[in-house]
Amino acid sequence: MNFYAVVLAVLALLTIGGITRVIIGPTIWDRLLGLNLVSSKIIMAIIVFALIIQRSFLLDIAIVYSLLGYIGSVLIARFIERKEE
């Protein structure tokens, strides 16, 4: 049993936990928080996978994914914001 395989499996389990919060979250902000967690877990999985196969071009994908996830969550958070007054 390889160490990295265990790490990837645990990351997959944690991602499933995050997706559970996205599904059951009572409000839309809970879902957004879960989505944020899931995207950071996916970045970590990409990093571990790049470490396994020793190719550094996968890290470019990780960089692009982290920037896109950030822009996405900020835009959605601004979009669903309701002003009270």
Binding site: L14, R21, L37, K41, L51, A62, I63, A77, E84
Partner: protein, 106 residues
């Protein structure tokens, strides 16, 4: 060889941190406590995992790219957490006290 073992230990620590983050996001009843806890624990896990990977890899372009990812993450992670919390707050989401399971909570 020693650096690989140290890096793997760091990776294990980061997995523990992230597992606690997911546990807290699944079990707390109040949105604000979830935000506060996960913002911290997830960032700690991310930084620890990247340090572990850098330690395993040694000094190369691979670890420099990891450093670049770390810088982006440190800059953007608090902003996205803040924007989610701010969006919930300005839409009128109020604090519900964390109740220990004593019948009165749902």
């Amino acid at each position: 060889m020693i650096n690989v073992i140290a890096g793997q230990i760091l990776m294990g620590i980061s997995l523990v941190f992230m597992a606690i983050g997911i546990y807290s996001v699944l079990t707390f009843h109040d949105f604000y406590s979830r935000v506060v806890i996960t913002a911290k624990v997830d960032t700690v896990g991310f930084i620890t995992l990247i340090f572990g990977a850098m330690l395993i890899q040694g000094f190369s372009f691979f670890s420099l790219k990891l450093l670049l990812i770390l810088v982006f993450e440190l800059l953007t992670s608090p902003i996205s957490t803040h924007s989610i919390a701010h969006s919930a707050y300005s839409s009128g989401y109020t604090i519900r006290k964390e109740v220990r399971a004593e019948g009165s909570s749902e």
